[in-house]
Symmetry: C2
Subunit: 435 residues, 2 copies
């Protein structure tokens, strides 16, 4: 019998097969795992701590499988511009002015927002990674983090230094925060990293058992030069440089053709669908139903808050289910259950991290969603509600690795007021410096 | 000096030109109009009631310009199906089982949800209109309501009776609820109402100065038969039957060609864009930027909760801004300011109802949005936040016609708990009857 237990009591539980049962969830806080899911578990043992889930749905903590969390500092800083101009005129100059302290502040703001909206786990590509690691450690979340590498426009020494930093932080921080932090090597994209360096970085990462995460096939403007220059599709090129292993995961995958979908399925490489970002930057519609049909693992990501503009994964759930239908020209495509699966099990699988399932033996990463709000009445179908009607503000409790990160909408690990205030102050300073 | 005044104090105010100023808003509750917008208005007069807007943004009450409010009772009842199958297999059988009491319960549930998310004004097409009128009267909202007419599949007498009911309720209830309720004659669509009856209904409505509201050009399946049968585009047909007056408003307008956009602009007929419904039913992407460029009045609507699945107009704001970019293949299309304009001034103009502007002389219909939540930090651009980051749950106060409908997130006119409970009970009974 576990000596330190958390009981999530009196709720309804979303099981991995998308059925819902009335059940308690008993968590062993020493192992961070779910010990049992079933009725009346409180009667059987001494419980150290109890979370009231009455009137709520206990579901897996959401997985935000592609983001740049610190970009919350740039939320609303520049909107309504094409990707290229947005990056060159606004985002890159602002990012060039970001200090390590800014990255810490922006990351903490993003973690507050994610915990509040039921996300327990995320993948982050950014820089000043030690600051991100420290924030995740403090917040109690689970993450796969990495340093984003761009080599175009840099001399050989600077380019090599950037690659080295990505490998160094991936090696140094893998297993940090009591194992909640894992890492990846993160070349920014197939067009912003030189082929030789990309090939070396991927080989070095894989030699050490470290996954690779990159942006791929996000826009037509990114796909066409590769096809023109190399005479092959971007993912054939990615495969050629060794990138498509079963532990690697690609962000976006908007403009993938049938041969690339087949390749992804064969290699077991996951795609992180970012529907809000793809809409806001007019990138296009990813063929999500076709990816699912081919057996590709699909996860969901918010992308950075500057192209979304929030980190609420419930928005992505809704967007994925809705945009998937539009893209397939079929209102039965990407049904609610598929969207929920992508946001939970799909995310955990894509990131090769625990979680994504509420069942005995799984990591105790979960969210409790209040079901009593007017916008969730009546309750014909709770899985439909998760995809189409629940919003992040309906989350009552968030638990990661058996630790309560939010109880009754109050954060327990981060000082929300201080985090928000610090981020506001730093955002104002940043704009002054960047302009 | 007004003897009965409401002061919205200490907030920032979104002006009609999308600029934001620190200002109080003074409301004359006897006329239901805004008397003044400016600094320190409390100092100048006795105020009957004060709403604290500190830390908040005072904006026009949102206008949901196309919905079927009572369909909240069917939220999540049937999802992930094509429009035709969804209507025939699920929605129409369920609607056939709806009683007047069900419509009242579903409407009240929808009104609760709208007031909570800052909507003050809406257009409703449904049946059992007297129940809807009573609910709107009680709730204190503003609406343009009407009875939806379908004549296909009915014999002549039944078809004529349906048209007559639409005209009768439009005449009877115009000006109800102290003038907050206006009406329209509402043929369901160009394909579900017989031409002769459609022509007569439109003429009778216009003779009495009553607008006409209908679904138009929502799906390709609806457009193609008209083109095939009549050799003209649907809106040319609509124009031919007299439907495109400057007070009429059309829902959807997804599949409109250049000639139809020009016709809408010439006639001054408004289009209500329903992006979530259009995505969820895979209907297509309305050419919103092209409509705006042509000078067409564009409003936003949630459509019914069965095809959305919520009545939160902030979701539509975000969807409109994002989907508009995807549809135009241009990330600068439908910028935040345009989306906000559609949800406020555009909506009021489409429905020919007061509201949509916070300025002296305008109707006192407004919402106060909390700006201090983590997902709204930092505050580089508040108009961007309204389009991309604010959600309905950020609304603190809602005011319509000078009356406070929600104060500090507590409804004042409707008993939220009872409304939700009644709707839940009736939804369960309805499903039992419909199956």
């Amino acid at each position: 019998m576990a000596s330190d237990t958390l009981l999530v009591a009196g709720g309804r539980v979303l099981r991995p097969d998308a059925t819902v049962v009335d059940a308690d969830v008993l968590i062993d806080r020493e192992t961070g795992r779910i010990e049992a899911v079933g009725p009346d578990l409180a009667a059987e043992r001494d419980v150290t701590e109890t979370l009231d889930a009455a009137g709520g749905l206990v579901m897996p903590g959401l997985v935000n499988a592609h983001t740049h969390v610190a970009m919350t500092l740039l939320r609303g800083y520049a909107d309504d511009k094409p990707l290229d101009a947005w990056l060159r005129e606004d985002i890159w100059p602002a990012e060039a002015a970001l200090t390590a302290e800014d990255v810490r502040a922006g990351t903490e703001l993003g973690l507050v927002e994610m915990i509040r909206s039921g996300t327990t786990t995320f993948a982050d590509m950014y820089f000043h990674v030690p600051e991100i690691v420290a924030a995740v450690d403090e917040a109690g979340m689970r993450a796969r983090v990495g340093h984003g590498v761009v080599t175009v426009g840099k001399d050989e020494a600077a380019a090599r230094a950037d690659v080295r930093e990505s490998l160094d932080v991936a090696r140094e921080y893998d297993g940090a925060a009591d194992g909640r932090i894992r890492t990846a090597v993160m070349p920014h994209s197939l067009t912003t990293v030189d082929e030789t360096l990309l090939r070396e970085a991927v080989a070095d990462a894989h030699d050490d058992g470290i996954p690779v995460h990159t942006h791929a096939n996000e826009t037509r403007d990114e796909v066409e030069p590769i096809v023109a220059e190399r005479g092959e599709r971007p993912l054939a090129y990615a495969d050629d440089v060794g990138l498509l292993s079963a532990s690697d995961f690609l962000a976006h995958g908007v403009h993938v053709d049938a041969s690339e979908i087949e390749l992804l399925a064969e290699r077991g490489t996951a795609v992180v669908h970012c529907p809000a970002s793809n809409m806001k930057l007019a990138s296009g519609i990813a063929p999500v139903q076709a990816l699912l049909d081919a057996g590709v693992t699909v996860a969901l990501g918010t992308d950075g808050a500057a192209s979304n503009n929030d980190l609420d994964l419930f928005d992505e759930l809704r967007d994925a289910a809705m945009l998937g239908k539009l893209g397939a020209d079929d209102a039965s495509a990407v049904p609610a259950e598929a969207a929920v699966q992508m946001a939970t099990q799909g995310g955990a699988a894509a990131l090769s991290l625990p979680g994504g399932r509420v069942e005995a033996g799984a990591a105790a990463d979960l969210a409790v969603v209040d079901l009593d709000a007017p916008h969730l009445a009546p309750a014909h179908d709770l899985v439909s509600h998760l995809a189409y009607a629940v919003r992040g503000s309906d989350v009552r409790h968030t638990v990661c690795d058996g630790q309560v990160l939010m109880r009754d909408r109050e954060l327990t690990t981060l000082d929300e007021e201080e985090v928000v205030e610090t981020a506001r102050r730093r955002a104002v300073d940043l704009v002054a410096r960047a302009n």
